[in-house]
Amino acid sequence: MRFRVSTNSLKLAVLVSLLPLAWLASLTDVLRFLAGNIGARFGISVSPLLLGILLVIVPALIYIYLTGDLIKPFLLALVLYLLPAIFGIDFNLLDRYVPGAIMLFTGFLLALFITWLEGDVKSVEGEESERLFISSLREVLVPLPLGIMLTALLLWRSSLGKTPRNVLPLAFLLPLLLFATVAFALHFREDQNEQVQPAKKSYLILRTVMKAGDSFILDVLERTERSVTFTLSGGFPVERPILLKLEWDDKAPEVVVLMSPWDTQTLLKTEELRKGEETYFIYLPTSRAPSSPGIPSAPR
């Protein structure tokens, strides 16, 4: 049987990165006392690490199963894990504490990416959503092996973070800086081949959600230098998404007002896009527009 990676299985797999917290918890007197007590009362020898795993991973598992929220358990785990570092940690534990922190932090990053990507593809239903999610995550994690390799190298050089002398080797900084420079240069480069052509046609793109007729007729009611008012008449009133593309042969207005007999929306010019010889002016309802509090910007 072929194992199929799914969102839920990934969420559970990420929980493995909570093991360092379970290890840290097993070092506390509370867990040692508990383990000893269980051994004495029931005659079962339980290691504090096993108890730590039970006390850390099982509640996290239940919480994630019930709420689907990965971020909060990981944030809490990070805070708990860092407490000993703030209040002082035994030097002899550093070679396990530092790799543990890196593992937990990587788990937190994965949880963050899973949450983001899950939110992005949630509009897609069924198996396609899973497929999109896995493909996206795979692409996002392409540089992860490189990051892990560099971290492993640094850990090796510093005896797992224990030898301060080798903690920040300058020899690594030069290639890192070079890499960062190349990345920034590539991101902010301008395409030299792209020639800006004079715009021949302009379009107004109006996007909003409002109560209007299910099949309306659009007319210009008023036109001033800064604003244009359109009326949407006719049809059965219904809360509906609107996406209109209107050819415009004049200077684009700053404000567009859409008036239906049941609702009025004020849209502000938010963006100007150039595509070849065409210019698009995007109008969205904003919080500044008095008639549009709480209106989502994207049509449903």
């Binding site: 983001w116 996002v140 973070g161 059965f236 009133p237 595509k275």
Partner: protein, 415 residues
């Protein structure tokens, strides 16, 4: 907090913690988010969009389906590509019209998909231009937006109830005293109506020779037929007709019945006019089935209008109709409009000296059977005060053809 800020924060926090706690090894945790950030910086947003969309049919009957086919090409960049269009609420979407695709670096994304739309009610429905949004996988660097094609309109014809010729003949037979009223063709008057294409059987003296020479096809002059009875239909499209749902409510039933009635009466060669109260649309009385398109256009995007145009005002505004033999009012009789209806009936009698037939639509059957029964009793009591024949119609129980038969029976008797 924007995602970019979160990622920068997660890159810098381990450094700060290392300095704050003195456990310098914690700084290594920055390497992994930093590598992801650097990789994201190196890849471009999806761009170079090309979209082709074809819609199978632009003119449909309610309930019929049309396939929409979309082809998307993304040439450059990597990330998630969101594509979709906005379909007006009167169109039902079968399948998915909003999709997400993954554009991988170094390869051109070419995808095709299709979905179906079917009008749930009459009207001019639209499918917006296709919008495409390209975003990097983590949503760190904004988005590339593109809009393609033009708005596509789909004109949805209502389902028009029609009667078989035999039913029409039986109605006609009941009115033997008035053969001209429902005869296939009346005697032409001297009132010019239109120039139309020659049809076999047209008299030679009706050919318009000048127009024929100019356009190169035989054209004839058509004159208004004489002696036809005129039926004026008043359909209520005010906000009060918004009872029921958007697809099968009182308004849709009223307009569907109006069109079916107009179509049948035109086929029977009567002069028919239509006034949409509330929408202030007036189709002056005309004859011939070719005239049906004018009625269809008037009805397609009508109401329910918030314009409170009471029925007496509608009658006043339809004075131009000229001679009217019968007025058919199609409405939902309620305690709130019964006095207006009484005034309108009085005004119709005074203005046109015509007979009046009232069609009372009961939309409450779709809500509950008991509610419908109670409302029926109440409506009968209200309509009884109006002093005109009333045809009751419960759309949830009787189809449009049954309603049409009942109304035509009433028309036939009234004429």
């Amino acid at each position: 907090m924007r995602r970019m800020d979160v990622l920068l924060f997660t890159t810098l926090v381990p450094f700060s913690l290392a300095l704050f706690t003195g456990v310098l090894g914690l700084a290594y945790a920055s390497i992994i988010p930093a590598s992801i950030l650097a990789y994201s910086l190196m890849s471009d947003l999806p761009s170079g969009f090309h979209v082709e969309r074809t819609v199978e049919a632009r003119n449909l009957a309610v309930g019929r389906r049309a396939r929409v086919h979309v082809r998307l090409t993304v040439e450059r960049g990597a990330g998630l590509v969101f594509i979709g269009d906005v379909v007006s609420p009167g169109l039902k979407v079968h399948g998915r019209n909003r999709r997400v695709f993954v554009k991988l670096p170094g390869e051109v994304l070419q995808v095709e998909y299709s979905y179906e739309v079917s009008p749930g009610k009459r009207g001019v429905h639209s499918i917006s231009p296709v919008e495409v949004i390209g975003r990097d996988f983590l949503g760190l660097f904004g988005a590339n937006y593109g809009i393609f094609g033009d708005e596509v309109t789909i004109e949805a014809r209502p389902v028009i109830g029609s009667l078989r010729a035999s039913s029409l003949r039986s109605i006609r037979a009941k009115r033997r005293g008035l053969p001209v009223v429902l005869s296939r063709k009346g005697i032409s008057s001297k009132d010019f109506k239109e120039i139309r294409e020659y049809q076999p059987g047209d008299p030679l003296n009706s050919i318009n020779w000048k127009a024929t020479a100019r356009f190169g096809i035989p054209l004839v002059n058509e004159y208004e037929p004489e002696g036809m009875a005129t039926v004026m239909v008043y359909a209520d499209t005010t906000a009060e007709m918004g009872t029921g749902d958007v697809f099968n409510g009182a308004l849709e039933s009223a307009l569907g019945l109006s069109l079916s009635l107009v179509h049948t009466l035109l086929k029977a060669n009567l002069r028919v006019g239509l006034y949409l109260a509330g929408s202030e649309r007036f189709v002056t009385p005309r004859t011939g089935t070719q005239a049906f398109s004018s009625f269809l256009r008037a009805v397609l995007s009508a109401g329910p209008s918030p314009n409170p145009e009471p029925m007496p005002l509608a009658v006043e505004r339809s004075k131009r109709a000229g001679k009217v033999d019968l007025a058919v009012i199609i409405t939902n009789v309620t305690p709130y409009n019964v006095s207006e209806l009484r005034d309108a009936i009085g005004k119709l009698r005074k203005t046109f000296n015509c007979r009046v037939l009232l069609v009372d639509i009961n939309p409450y059957g779709a809500i509950d059977k008991d509610v419908m029964q109670l409302s029926r009793l109440h409506k009968r009591k209200l309509a009884g005060k109006l002093g005109v024949p009333v045809v009751e119609w419960v759309p949830s129980q009787e189809g449009p053809s049954t309603a049409l038969k009942k109304v035509l029976g009433g028309v036939s008797l009234a004429l």
